[in-house]
């Protein structure tokens, strides 16, 4: 049976910062939402927690692309995480959780699994 999920409204378009990330609080804990207006899709959501430091900081990293892959660099120890898959480019045994994200009118919604707080590092 598929786990129950729901699309949680986390913020509005005005909260987003182009080419950068913001952090939101969800039922599943802190999530980083990135808005890259020059890409398709333009929205990405991954866990806000940096698996290497344990600190909630990934939304504050610099975004970009490495060999075409959209990434964010951890602001603490500079590892890169794929915004699509959550996999760490420097160490593919580590990945952060990713979340489906969509724009609903003016609302940004994340697909969050209810009551299922899983750890973020692989």
């Amino acid at each position: 049976m598929k786990p129950r999920t729901r699309w949680e409204a986390v913020c509005t378009v005005d909260d987003l910062v182009p080419e950068s990330g913001i952090a939101v609080w969800t039922e599943d804990g802190p999530v980083a939402v990135f808005y890259l207006p020059h890409r398709l899709p333009a929205l990405f959501a991954i866990s806000h927690s940096d698996p290497f430091s344990g600190a909630n900081v990934l939304a504050r990293g610099i975004t970009g692309d490495l060999k075409g892959e959209p990434v964010v660099a951890s602001p603490l120890y500079k590892q890169h995480f794929s915004l699509r898959t959550g996999v760490c480019l420097e160490d593919d045994t580590v990945r952060v959780k990713t979340y489906p994200v969509l724009l609903d009118g003016n609302q940004i919604r994340l697909e969050v699994r209810a009551n299922q707080r899983e750890s973020i590092a692989a």
Binding site: E19, W25, H38, S49, S53, L76
Partner: protein
Amino acid sequence: MSKKTLIVVGNGMVGHHFLEQFCASPAAADFEIIVFGEEKQLAYDRVHLSEYFGGSSHADLAMGTLEWYTEQGIQLHLNEQVTGINREHRTLETPRGGYRYDELVLATGSYPFVPPIKGNDRPHCLVYRTLDDLDTIRASSEGARTGVVVGGGLLGLEAANALKSLGLEAHVVEFAPRLMPVQLDADGGALLRHKIEELGVQVHTEKATTAITEGEDARLRMNFSDESFLETDLIVFSAGIRPQDALARASGLEIGERGGIVIDNHCTTSDPHVHAIGECALWEQKIFGLVAPGYTMARTLSSALNGDRDTAFTGADMSTKLKLLGVDVGSIGDAHAQTPGARNIRFNDEQAGHYRRMVISEDGKTLLGAILVGDNSHYDTLLQYALNGITLPENPETLILPESQGGAPALGPDALPETASICSCHNVTKGDICRAIDAGCSDLGSVKSETKASTGCGGCTALLKNVVDSELEKRGVEVSKDLCEHFPYSRQELFHLVKVNGIRTFRTLISQHGKGHGCDICKPAVASILAICWNEHILATDHVPLQDTNDTFMANMQKNGTYSIVPRIPGGEITPDKLIVLGEVAKEYDLYTKITGGQRVDLFGATLSQLPEIWEKLIAAGFETGHAYGKSLRTVKSCVGNTWCRYGVQDSVDMAIRLEDRYKGLRAPHKVKMAVSGCTRECAEAQSKDFGVIATENGWNLYVCGNGGMRPRHADLFATDLSDEELIRTIDRVVMFYVRTADRLQRTSVWMESLEGGLEYLKEVVLEDSLGIGAELEEHMEGIVGTYQCEWKTAVEDPEKRKRFREFVNAPSQADPVQEWTVERGQRRPVLESA
């Protein structure tokens, strides 16, 4: 089998080098090692002794550490003089007891020669050899105005430099008709004299001192054989060295006619269990008064004690390259053309102050020797020709002509044979370097730590880098200058593209000159370039996503995701009221408080959303941002200066505040640190900064491109006795030239070393305006200074910018659950364990 005992008498540079070599060899396991040093301190670098007055301490000059000696199991007896050797019983004595040895190494060095002049034992007649001597000289300089060095050789000129840095009017008295008679010829000596006199050191040649008597206007009077005299407050004898062979002599070892412990090719004396190395040893009637031959002897002896009879000491190259009082002097091989049939080529540019002489063999094929004064840039190439017998080009004069007159470029590293010695201090050849690279060293740093090349006197740094770069390139290791995969340009090239094309956003730059969307390498680099060119607020919408988190939130992120705050405290001067505000704010937000190395206060543990509130309070109390988060000017450290200090000669605090206010906020390729000291005692440690200013009686001395931290480097003296305005203009130019031409994350020290022509080139550009860009650099700086804004003030006043400081945009009251705290020594700290 019980261990044998090896005793080393003497803990100088050569003695220490021997221990390093021997302890790393297999035979070390068979010996207990005991070392006696007459001085109080561990072995230190005597070659750079004059830096002791420039601010270096014994720790800076030390060759090793006590920990190292302990780790090696060496029994170290400092401040304990060996008084006698009994070779029959193989024992030696000190005032504290007797010791037995199986093998004895004498590394007793030399002592300064004091000419037999009547009155040479008066107070304030001193010598220049040890740190204790330097302390004595310093004490004697209190209340003194002038100082004389007797002896115009290499050590004498070093000593004159030391007197000068103590603020004395320095004189050099030389018996010969010219300075450095051993290394230089008449023309070279004359040029050196001219340059040194320009620096304010008075030179008296062909003067024989007959007596030293009491002075009338000064403490002492030196009477010369030509009836003239010179009054001075102190005299330093530096008229050569004599081997310290007293102990060997008393024990009946064979001694040379004019002193020195006679050794064979394996550094063994007339007693097979006694060995001698360094300046106390006499090999084929020769004493070697340089450190490199001493090191060679140390290595030879270590091999011999390991049973290796093939390694032999076969003499040493006495070529020298130095900077005396800031003047380049080089002397190679047969500098005086004593080889039969030798011919000379001379180049003498009195205008530029460059003198070069090549001594070549009769057939014109090999270089026998050379003399350089004023510019040592040809030294490495000439030395390689001389040492390796490389056949000279058809027109050998091209080697010393300026390039504009058809001079040949320096000998490329490819032209050197495998056997070419690159580092003579540690005897590292080009072949050794190639092997290190083949064994996996992939950059300069790892080659240095693997081979020890360039870790002695450092004279071969540039050559080593060339060899390493060329060998890496040959092996297909790409030494790419591209910033990252998005821009096929160096930072300097990007700077020009931005400036020339008037580009104001990252998006424009990457769409016109790059590819993709950028990354955490190129975005901050471009943000810095844009800031320098246009000086817009770093949180302008287009620039926000380019910044590192520290720049974005104008604070320093710590390991648990909180930030630290460093308000600017210019020159380290702060009123009690402002100090109270810092305390009150820290208390209100429970911030961990620590004093920084840059004379400021760091407040740790603020959450993202607290930052604007805290800054509102700080700004209301008159604080500005300290840019501790930026690649920009950090702090201008200062001592208290002449307003309080009885030694101060200028107002260092006032100058530090002026400099800090001028350069605050300027974006640079890396952080920039400055300091101002109010006198030569250098309490602000200015010589470890990117820009160091030291007060003189007449103004300010400027030092540039120093560094503390991971790779410490003493700053180089750049200009002397500058007025306030000259000082600021000079710093303006150097800073701006650095900002425009350095690579990303390149500190000034590395930048300067990477400039072709190094310090001399930088001086030409800045002081002589050789590129004709001086006015433009100053104008650019004025523009940046004029558009300064406190980034925090602008940010807290703008509701849009403040939106960025929400921890979770949809839950303002939600605390970050991983930020947990504990209390230690009365303050809060994180409990978060990092993975």
